[in-house]
């Protein structure tokens, strides 16, 4: 049994219906809202699995179902749904992770007064995300993209009574909007150029060969059209996926409830940018054949990805908030995915996206479990010693960390990161991204070792940590399931049997190569991980922090560097000083213009209008009105005279009628005789 592409809309429709139920439910309908959300998500998950079965039956095909949305003057605007292995894998991942996070949320948000609203927003988010994944039109994708942004805004600012949460929500919305502006421009350009926004349309979609050939001519600045459009669309991905230079919103987004962080800012929404680039990959690669262009779209993607990967890992080293560390690690991992896209291996990017979704959701939910148990204590300096108190959380969190770090052989993160390093190593353009990625691997191992050591080992360093207890099954069960996935997911794409890659590329048979073919690189990465973990253990694990006020051992050795990193390299301040100040200056300029130039003009026009009005009124009252008054007086008199005939007596009317009939007939008869 499979799900046909015509019914693919059901997957996002179910959570959307759940969101409607949540919105309409009374405030006390907590069980109803949560039940609807979880039930709809489970249904979506089952449908997504059926869709996956349908897609895998013929992995090379792009099954589409297009329909006309409405007619414009120049033709119908068409939307559609698309089913191929990429869509299907994303659907299954989003639905599954969302389902687990929904279940986790029933425990985490238990005491919140706006419980049912929370599930309404979560369902809305899941619906938008799934709609984004199944779209066969860049326009539909964009609509869902913005809906995802809206849901993210609502959820980051869910505790809007906290000023920091409200500010973070605003920041996330506006920052991503900057990227979306580029996306929108690219979309309009594409529509203008191609007349369609459908991905695949039986040869007429813009991702198919006929359309891509139209995009290879050069612009005056030397870029190919496809490069320019691709880079504009990439702007959207930069905003949504937290890439440099728009990465600043993602760490602040941790003001939202932790399940939101897990769902939106780790597993799914931020992956939308990666998914977008993978989806329009034929467009991004259309300029690869051109030799005489200054830059290829993918080159930009690769460098931004590599830089972001390194930057995120660096900043994560100096953070103290458990969620913020994970947030910067997300920035870093998304950088890896972008790097993989840029160096030409979108399959590696999607593989890392899938594995990352599971282990990062696991890490965030684990962090949520810790925070919930420790009465909302998020500073790792004040935690500690939780390994004995929260065994399930500790073990699953450790598994997630090992997957993220890339502990060899067993863990999914190792294989997906290995694929990216391999692809970066083989890139012909430059080796710089590869070195950045390698350094990022060391740093990742380092800061995760620190995170584990400070959070779980030693003894509790605060009242809250001392009183922490393991949470209930609603919260631990998703952790266990996610941990199992984080480990086992590596099996779908081992080098010797790359099933996932084959399916994504549309190959029927799976051709692997011996597992130790890339042994040199693999050995290098094992050494790097060991180096990072060793460094981290040497600094933090050997001599555990005594109390929450003790100085960080790294900060003692290099205070300037750590201070700068802790301040996130001053990007926020930089933006405030440049973009913010420019904005303020422009606003002042606009204000002055408004007040004096335009205002003066408007005042002058108004005075002119008043004067004209005065003249008109005088003319009216003296000359025109006299004539009209006389006429209306006469009319009124005539009306009064005629109204005398209306006696109100029915007999009189009937008699007049009959007499009139007689006279009329006499006239006809006499006239007919003449």
């Amino acid at each position: 049994m499979t799900l046909a592409v015509q019914h693919l809309w059901l997957i996002p429709a179910l959570p959307l219906a759940a969101a409607a139920v949540g919105a309409l439910a009374p405030r006390s309908g907590r069980t109803l809202a949560a039940g609807a959300a979880i039930g709809a998500m489970a249904g979506s998950f089952i449908l997504a699995c059926l869709a996956l079965a349908g897609a895998l039956a013929d992995p090379a095909a792009h099954q589409v179902f297009n329909f006309a949305w409405f007619d414009l003057g120049f033709g119908a605007l068409r939307l559609g749904f698309l089913l191929d292995p990429l869509t299907a894998f994303m659907c299954v991942m989003v639905a599954f992770v969302s389902l687990l996070i929904f279940i986790f949320s029933t425990g985490y948000m238990k005491e919140d007064a706006n419980y049912k609203q929370f599930f309404c927003f979560l369902s809305l988010f899941a619906a938008a995300m799934l709609g984004l994944v199944v779209a066969n039109s860049l326009l539909l994708l964009f609509v869902c993209w913005e809906l995802v942004g809206l849901a993210s805004y609502l959820l980051i600012g869910f505790w809007f009574h906290k000023p920091s949460a409200a500010a973070a929500a605003k920041k996330a919305f506006i920052t991503t909007r900057i990227g979306d502006l580029g996306f929108l421009l690219g979309l309009l350009w594409l529509q203008d150029n191609q007349g369609t926004l459908l991905f695949y349309d039986g040869g007429a979609g813009f991702l198919e060969a006929a359309a891509l050939a139209n995009l290879s001519h050069l612009l005056p600045c030397g870029l190919a059209v496809s490069t320019a459009i691709g880079l504009l669309i990439f702007c959207g991905a930069v905003g949504k996926s937290g890439q440099f230079p728009l990465h600043v919103w993602l760490p602040d987004a941790m003001e939202g409830p932790t399940p939101v962080s897990a769902l939106i800012h780790a597993a799914t929404m931020v992956a939308a940018g990666v998914f977008l680039i993978a989806r329009v990959y034929p467009l991004m690669t259309a300029d690869q054949a051109l030799a005489n262009v200054p830059v290829h779209a993918l080159t930009v993607v690769a460098f931004i990805g590599a830089f972001t990967a390194l930057l995120g890992a660096l900043i994560a080293v100096a953070q103290n908030d458990i969620k913020r560390i994970l947030a910067f690690s997300t920035v870093s991992q998304l950088g890896y995915m972008m790097l993989a896209l840029g160096v030409g291996s979108w399959v590696a990017a999607i593989f890392h996206l899938l594995t990352h979704a599971f282990f990062k959701a696991l890490l965030f939910l684990g962090a949520g479990s810790v925070i919930h148990a420790a009465h909302h204590e998020q500073d790792i300096r004040a935690l500690g010693g939780l390994s004995k108190k929260m065994k399930v959380t500790y073990l699953t969190f450790a598994l997630g960390t090992m997957a993220l770090v890339g502990v060899p052989l067993l863990f999914s993160g190792f294989w997906s990161k290995e694929a990216i390093l391999h692809a970066a190593h083989g890139w012909r353009v430059s080796h710089l991204p590869f070195y950045a990625a390698v350094l990022g691997v060391v740093l990742t191992a380092f800061y995760n070792t620190r995170l584990m050591a400070e959070t779980f080992f030693g003894s509790p360093r605060s009242e809250n940590a001392a009183h922490a207890r393991e949470n209930g099954p609603a919260m631990t069960l998703p952790l266990v399931i996610l941990a199992a996935c984080a480990v086992l997911l590596s099996l779908v794409n081992l080098p010797s049997y790359p099933w996932l890659a084959a399916k994504l590329l549309g190959e029927q048979e799976v051709r692997g190569h011996p597992i130790f073919e890339g042994a040199g690189l693999m050995g290098l990465s094992v050494v790097l991980v060991a180096l990072g973990v060793g460094l981290g253990w040497a600094l933090y694990g050997r001599s555990l922090r005594a109390n929450s006020a003790a100085k960080d051992p790294l900060a003692v050795r290099a205070p300037g560097v750590i201070a700068a990193l802790a301040n996130r390299l001053g990007f926020d301040e930089l933006y405030a000083a440049t973009v913010g100040r420019l904005n303020a200056a422009l606003a002042t300029l606009a204000d002055v213009l408004d007040r004096f130039v335009w205002g003066g003009a408007v005042d002058f026009l108004a005075a002119l209008g008043q004067f004209t009005g005065l003249v008109t009124r005088e003319t009216d009252e003296r000359t025109l009105n006299g004539g009209f008054d006389t006429t209306s007086d006469k009319l009124r008199g005539a009306g009064q005279a005629y109204s005398q005939a209306q006696t109100g007596e029915a007999h009189g009317y009937l008699r007049t009628l009959a007499l009139g009939f007689v006279i009329l007939l006499l006239l006809v008869v006499l006239g007919g005789a003449r």
Binding site: Y642, S643, Q644, A645, Q646, T647, G648, E649, A650, H651, L654, R655, A658
Partner: protein, 103 residues
């Protein structure tokens, strides 16, 4: 005099009886009944023309009369309801007492 003319004379006589009653009587009910008679006279004409007309098989006259009867029944019901309502408010059934619509 042909039978058709006889029928028409009969119907015009009935019409005039109804008209005279509607004009002469002051009781609103009787005025309404006079109007009903006039309607019936019109129906007589339809049947007469159908009976002696060129295409009796078409049956249009019969259909028309049926609709006229239905409409007349509705008219009678509403008209008499009006009479009752006016009587309740004004304690009168004399038509010439109801002149609220005069100009």
């Amino acid at each position: 005099m042909s039978p058709l003319q006889l029928c028409l004379v009969l119907s015009s006589l009935l019409f005039c009886v109804g008209l005279a009653g509607a004009l002469a009587r002051s009781n609103t009910i009787l005025v309404l009944l006079g109007i009903e008679l006039m309607l019936n006279a019109a129906n007589l004409n339809f049947i007469a023309f159908w009976r002696y007309g060129p295409q009796p098989a078409a049956g249009l006259g019969v259909i028309f009369v049926l609709f006229a009867i239905a409409v007349a029944a509705a008219e009678a019901a509403v008209g008499l309801a009006l009479v009752i309502a006016i009587h309740r408010h004004r304690k009168t059934v004399r038509l010439q007492d109801s002149t609220a619509l005069k100009g």
